[in-house]
């Protein structure tokens, strides 16, 4: 990738401090900074889900942001001090 200048942003993910770049979505932060592909658990089979449609249509990537539940991680832009809560799972 062509790395331009970027500003770093610090957020918390399930209480951990995570540094990412301004302009990242929450989904990209979880994938790139945390190396996670899934952050939500399905309610019947308990399977992991993360980004699927990537554009806000499938609602698979839901997270809680600053206390507000069920937001699409693919659409939320990170902001300094943002608190992100996921459904942590094994693996």
């Amino acid at each position: 990738m062509t790395a331009g200048e970027f500003r770093t942003v610090t957020v918390t993910v399930d209480g951990r401090r995570v540094t990412t770049e301004a302009g990242r979505t929450v989904a990209a932060t979880l994938m790139l900074a945390e190396d996670r592909l899934h952050w939500r658990e399905t309610r019947f089979a308990g399977k992991g889900r993360g980004l699927f449609c990537g554009i806000g249509v499938c609602f698979d990537c839901l997270v809680t942001v600053d206390g507000q539940p069920s937001l699409r991680a693919c659409l939320v832009q990170v902001a300094e001090g943002m608190s992100i809560e996921t459904e942590p799972m094994d693996g």
Partner: protein, 483 residues
Amino acid sequence: MADTENTYEVAVIGAGPAGLAAASEAAAGGAHTVLIDAAGQFGGQYWRHADEQSSSEDPAVWHHGWKTYTGLASAVDDAISAGKLQYLPASHVIAAEAGSPFSLSIAPVPESQPEHQGLTQIRAHTVVLCPGAYDRQLPVPGWTLPGVMAAGGIQAFIKTQGISPGQRVVLGGTGPFLLSAAASVLQAGAEVAAICESSDLTGWVPRGVSAALVPSKGKEGAEYIALLARHRVPYFRRRAVVAIHGDQRATAVSTARLNRDGKALPGTERIIEDVDLVGLGWGFVPQSELVVQLGAQMFRDADGSLVAEVDKDQQSSVPGLYLAGEITGVAGATAAVAEGRIAGRQVAGLRGGGRPPRSSADIKDRVLRRNHRLFAQAMHRAHPLPQQWPEWLTDETVICRCEEVPWQKTKEAIDSLSAEEPRGLKGATRIGMGWCQGRMCGQAADCLASSDSADVAQAVARRGPAIPVSLRALAGESGRESS
């Protein structure tokens, strides 16, 4: 709620290629216009790009037609600065009612702005609806594993984040968009392990004429092919990703050669190992819920999509409702821009009463529209869905991602519960009742509950609200006081 401040001559819904074109023309023609878009910045899906506030990167590297975008965006920006156009970003029209004027209920998009103010009601004498489209999906064993994405989702990620969400990628499905997605992955420095195109592409041959009409598409295609050749990307025809393997995440795929009907041929299966991202795309689904709510006449296009009828000026069967872009038939961004411009000029020009005069630009757009539509029809015929795709499924394959409905249960409902039609299937299995309201499994349900009828597809697409909306937003102002 009947506030004259909230009444416009023209409401344009969607700020992708069609919507930007419509809004810029409507405002340029002097119409008091509002542009409503769910995203926080212009572009729609096609010109989706990095956050303008924080990125210094030039989005042009990831895009085709970026000059067209910047031209449209600055025209719209100028109209906003001049007070001719009101722009409502991060706003989703959740309900629309036809009439004179039209009435639109708009919800804040909670990912971008707080929901405290509740719904906004807007009235407009004409509406130009440009709702765009999303990737069409077919279920396949393993498609719910993390690391499996819509092909368009992969490209959206690259366009906004400047990096590929996976390092070794397999793309499968049908249509030229797979090439576009592959090009984005390569450009982002990742590897494309294979592209599996289910069609044999022989459909193109007798219709070569249509392709010749659209030289820009030919050039784009040639660029992709050169790029893939340079990276030695294996490109397979009449082959599909028939299963995705992995425990916590996708790590391998099975591909198989298909027979004419789309059945996997025994003995042709190959496994591609060490994959960390799988992209699936079977064409596109136009977002139809608002058109259905508004009651416009619809039909099934050559690709099976539910699309709306428009006249030569982009007006639907509902007087005052104009449509542009994929909702009139999936035909790509160039056609969408042409349609948007035609619609925008028309709605602005009609304000005086008479017929707007035809400018040379308008005539050019009409030719462009015709050629791209012809091209799109040929493309759809060359990329049919493999009819026997359910043969790839196992009993455990999830059909509806949200409600986790397996194939076994789906078959039982079709066989014994009179659920051989999409609505019955939904009631008997919960397919399509979850978060996405059937947008991901809709194509599957449509194929399984065999129905060619546009009426049935329309009944299924009668979704309200157009996106999930909190009770707080529905309740409006006084919702806050009740807690």
